[in-house]
């Protein structure tokens, strides 16, 4: 009888489609590994920003978990809280916002990240955008002031380089951007002579002064003793976590590498406009400075490390092939630098990753490997 035959076959051979080679890596293992690798940077964040940073992290993770549970119950699918994907999203969202935040901003952003950016698109593995970054974009569009203007830092922290702590609370990237813009308006104003402490005799001199005065020392950027988003400050801890992920094989090295390399190269190469004033002749003007940026500053400051190692590498929202990932990484680097140098915002990692996430299906389509035996 045919029916009996089928069961016989199924008993003897497991009939499945490819791939047939399996590796014992599961979603929970990957997610909890990412979670653990993220923790050191959070610890530095809590140390630098104080206990309120811990609250932000806990509220964010809790609301992400609650959102995950609610959405999965509503959709009638299996509740998979223990796989850690919601916890990682919550943690990442907490890392890319300011520690001085109202609780409802954290709850709204974290909830949006899970409920809309992830479950409205079909749950884990179906989302187009990185949920944590989508949550951040949502919070930024809704609560502009608290998301961009309030950057706290604990008073009892000493900086690594011995420079005084920034008192204005502005992030290093914002300082650099606004002082370059300020130098132009000062040089073109009638009172340019008053500001010789900022303006140099040539554009090159001004730029050197700005970099010396405003750019935070790379040691502070590396250690994390700066103001900024909660978990983005400490480049060293993010690098540590990222390297562990690369060693575990969860992240392929070429994606973070292309992002950081593109950012560094373009930040060094692309021109910056600065103003100058010559007290001897009374002349003033504006110079366009090519090949003069500070690449180290740009890859250590802002969300570059966090984005490159933990957000762009999200398996769901990054291209499949190595070639695709390199294109993806270069795109992120280019957009980041363009937004940082010429855009309205001081930091562009969030939007550049979201924009390149949108392009992933296209990248995947054009980097699809040839079928064996197929023609080009």
């Amino acid at each position: 009888m045919p029916e009996e035959n089928t069961t016989q076959v199924e008993k003897l051979y497991t009939v499945t489609s490819s791939p047939h080679i399996h590796k014992k890596i599961s979603i929970p293992w990957i997610m909890w590994m990412v979670f653990i690798c993220l923790l050191p940077a959070g610890a530095v964040g809590v140390y630098v920003h104080g206990a309120k940073a811990l609250w932000v992290i806990l509220i964010s993770i809790a609301s992400a978990m609650i959102a995950e549970y609610t959405c999965q119950k509503m959709r009638g699918v299996k509740v998979t809280l223990s796989d850690g994907s919601a916890a990682v999203t919550g943690l990442l969202f907490a890392y890319c916002i300011s520690a001085e935040n109202y609780w409802y901003v954290v709850v709204a952003g974290s909830f949006f990240a899970i409920a809309i950016a992830k479950h409205a698109f079909g749950g884990l593995g179906m989302n187009i955008w990185n949920p944590a970054l989508a949550g951040r974009a949502f919070a930024l569009a809704s609560f502009g002031y608290i998301m961009t203007a309030v950057w706290p830092i604990s008073a009892n922290i000493e900086t690594m380089s011995g420079n005084p702590l920034p008192t204005s609370g502005a992030t290093p990237l914002r300082c650099l951007k606004s002082s370059a813009e300020k130098s132009i308006s000062l040089a073109t104003s009638k009172e340019a002579a008053k500001y010789t402490d900022i303006l140099g005799e040539t554009g090159k001199e001004t730029w050197a002064k700005i970099k010396k005065q405003e750019a935070t020392h790379w040691m502070d950027l590396f250690a994390g003793t700066i103001s900024g988003s909660l978990g983005e400050t400490s480049a060293a801890m993010l690098l540590l976590g990222g390297i562990v992920l690369v060693c575990l094989g969860i992240v392929k090295w070429y994606l973070p590498f292309t992002i950081l390399a593109t950012t560094a190269f373009l930040a060094w190469m692309l021109p910056v406009k600065v103003g100058w004033y010559n007290p001897a002749t009374g002349a003033s003007g504006m110079d366009v400075m090519w090949f003069s940026g500070d690449p180290l500053f740009h890859i250590l400051a802002g969300g570059c490390m966090l984005g490159a190692f933990f957000m762009a590498t999200d398996m769901v929202t990054s291209p499949i092939t190595a070639k695709g990932q390199v294109i993806f990484g270069i795109g992120i680097g280019v957009l980041t630098v363009i937004i940082r140098l010429y855009g309205g915002y001081p930091e562009g990692v969030c939007y550049s990753i979201l924009l390149m996430n949108t392009a992933v299906p296209l990248i995947d389509r054009y980097t699809k490997p040839k079928v064996f035996g197929g023609r080009s």
Partner: protein, 216 residues
């Protein structure tokens, strides 16, 4: 009985926004608060009823080859009346908020769609009921979207603040919780319409499943 169905179909079963997904552009742009949404809905009801009646009256006189220009002329006349009347009698703030979307009712796909699909084939009474039903369905949809967007995005209903603790920190520094202002921006319009489309298609599917179960 049949004419009652012509009236009710526009409100639920063939709701222009949530079922036929027509006229999404004004329902995104004019729903940032409830009063704008309601006024836009009223304008569409008026134009829809009268254009349906007139087109139904002259349906046998319109040559098939140039029917769309004929419809446009009829619709445009009523839109002009509406535009001038609204400018004269509505608060200027609402008129300015609706802005270009009142003149754009001329090419509104609900009105053109009803003219083409219904009024040009049915008698005056049925066309009137169809226009009224579709117009009310559209207004209801707009009001639901506008209400949601205004209350979440701004903490108000028709520009009246409901509770003192739910407002932005600029208005009241002691506010306990702030509205999520993205909902009163265009991005929020997409979000709210998307979520309502999902909700209503879910409800329709549940209803259909129940009917199938009953039939069995």
């Amino acid at each position: 009985m049949e004419s009652k169905k012509e009236f009710t179909k526009g409100i639920w079963a063939e709701n222009p926004v949530f079922v036929m997904i027509l006229s999404i552009c004004p329902s995104m742009a004019t729903t940032s608060n409830l009063s704008n949404a309601f006024c836009m809905g009223l304008a569409v009801i008026f134009v829809l009823i009268f254009s349906n009646i007139i087109i139904s009256l002259i349906r046998k006189a319109i040559p098939g080859e140039i029917r769309i220009p004929c419809y446009i002329v009829v619709i445009a006349s009523f839109v002009t009346i509406t535009d001038l009347a609204m400018h004269a009698y509505l608060p200027l703030k609402i008129y300015e908020a609706l802005g270009i979307f009142i003149p754009l009712i001329v090419v509104n796909c609900i009105i053109l769609g009803r003219a083409e699909a219904f009024a040009s084939k049915n008698n005056v009474w049925k066309s009137f009921l169809d226009g009224l039903g579709m117009g009310i369905g559209f207004t209801l949809a707009l009001c639901i979207i506008g209400f949601t967007r205004e209350i979440i995005g701004n903490g108000t209903i028709c520009n009246y603040q409901i509770v003192s603790f739910f407002t932005s920190k600029n208005n009241n520094p002691n506010a306990w919780i702030e509205p999520i202002s993205v909902f009163s921006q265009p991005a929020g319009g997409f979000l709210v319409i998307g979520l309502y489309l999902g909700l209503f298609s879910y409800l329709r599917r549940q209803k259909k499943l129940k009917e199938v179960a009953k039939a069995k």
